[in-house]
Symmetry: C2
Subunit: 227 residues, 2 copies
DNA sequence: ACCTGAACACCGTTCAAGT
DNA sequence: ACCTGAACACCGTTCAAGT
């Protein structure tokens, strides 16, 4: 793992090796940890060499994002379980786990929605195929898939953000401590203005990530059966 | 409007004036348009003066985000319509319109989920109050509100991203042209790998933003009635 | 074709100094 | 208490020059 960190590089530079190193940096320190300065150091090269393989930082981030998502979705579709509902849950959970493992994915994915890249249709395809298999009317394919996609990415991103900020927090807190801090903050809000936020603060503290996440999927599935 | 753009500043500096100028810059050119360099120029001052009123750029962005969202939600709750369902639609649409008017809000809001700031409980409160009023069981308050919040922010952000990138696109395209380009790109994807994405490309091109957005809300509301 | 590395035009932020 | 503005330590990106 430390083999390429110092001294001359062992293998020729390639787009793949650059993306691989970028993902490592993103995983270890979030979006701000990926700079061309430390990237060139890690790869024992100069900035010009990287720009030979990659157009700019935006493209590098897009390729890294698409690669991680493609892997996550590929794993999800290997095991083809019982029916389309279970498949849908598996795909959603696969995305969830990927974002949990790479917290920077959350923000990056929401940025990719601006662009016309490959990752957005990839995600719509994975979720949408299962929506179609559930037999919902074609006229509602776009809406239902959109609801699912946005919920999956939003909820996963929020949870990943929690664990990410917990990881880098100064007070050495873990995820539970961070959730506890947020929950406590919500409980101390003004009782008149924030009666609801205060009421769910406890649920937020104690909730099991995956369980709640899947409960949300099931809620949408229930609504889907009626449309 | 151009009064404060050049020459000496007319009024004393204040947190409010700084935030106001920041929002103007964000609205006009997106997140990258907000720099301390042009901010000091607009306010006819030096960077040190801004740092006297505001801790750093992160705080400035957080305050700007919270301000715009607070305004949007205040407008939404003024008119208290028929029942909680209509109120929910009004609040959701209010957020939707705010993000459409300030496209940078989308990305900024997803970033605020990492932090323990005031904007996230504010949004949960507005949506959650109506969820509670619908009479759903307390045990599911957190999940149902989460589904709604993530869908609202995700869908609004995606649409805003569309119009935002359309606005700044080189080929002078408007929103319809941008959607058309994306739709065409999806139609040209591999038929085997992307059968679903190709199938909904047409719906994406022709869809009415608000109509589709509200259809998504209704889908969740339908699922909510069953839980 | 692929890589080097100095240089450019920018950032956010700090801080001694002024009023 | 509030503001000035030079300076610092960084960015992403370019490009003439090498192999």
């Amino acid at each position: 793992m430390t083999a390429t960190r110092k001294g001359r590089r062992s293998a020729a530079l390639s787009r793949e090796r650059i993306v691989e190193a970028a993902v490592e940096l993103l995983d270890s320190g979030g979006e701000s940890a990926l700079t061309f300065r430390v990237l060139t150091e890690r790869l024992a090269t100069g900035p010009g060499a990287i720009y030979w393989h990659v157009a700019n930082k935006d493209e590098l981030l897009a390729v890294a994002t698409d690669g991680v998502v493609a892997d996550a979705l590929a794993v999800g579709s290997e095991q083809s379980p019982a029916g389309p509902e279970d498949e849908l849950r598996a795909v959603a959970l696969g995305l969830y786990e990927a974002i949990a493992a790479h917290p920077w994915l959350g923000g990056q994915l929401s940025r990719q929605f601006t662009r016309n890249g490959p990752v957005v249709p990839r995600i719509y395809e994975s979720i949408g195929r299962r929506v179609r298999a559930l037999g919902v009317p074609e006229a509602t394919w776009f809406v239902t898939t959109s609801v699912l996609v946005h919920y999956v990415l939003g909820a996963a991103g929020q949870n990943a953000a929690n664990s990410a900020s917990a990881r880098t927090s100064a007070d050495g807190a873990n995820r539970a401590d961070f959730l506890d801090a947020v929950s406590t903050a919500w409980e101390e809000l003004d009782p008149d203005e924030y009666s609801f936020a205060r009421a769910i603060a406890g649920q937020m503290r104690d909730h099991d990530d995956r369980e709640q996440f899947l409960a949300g999927i099931d809620l949408v599935l229930a609504g889907l059966r009626l449309s």
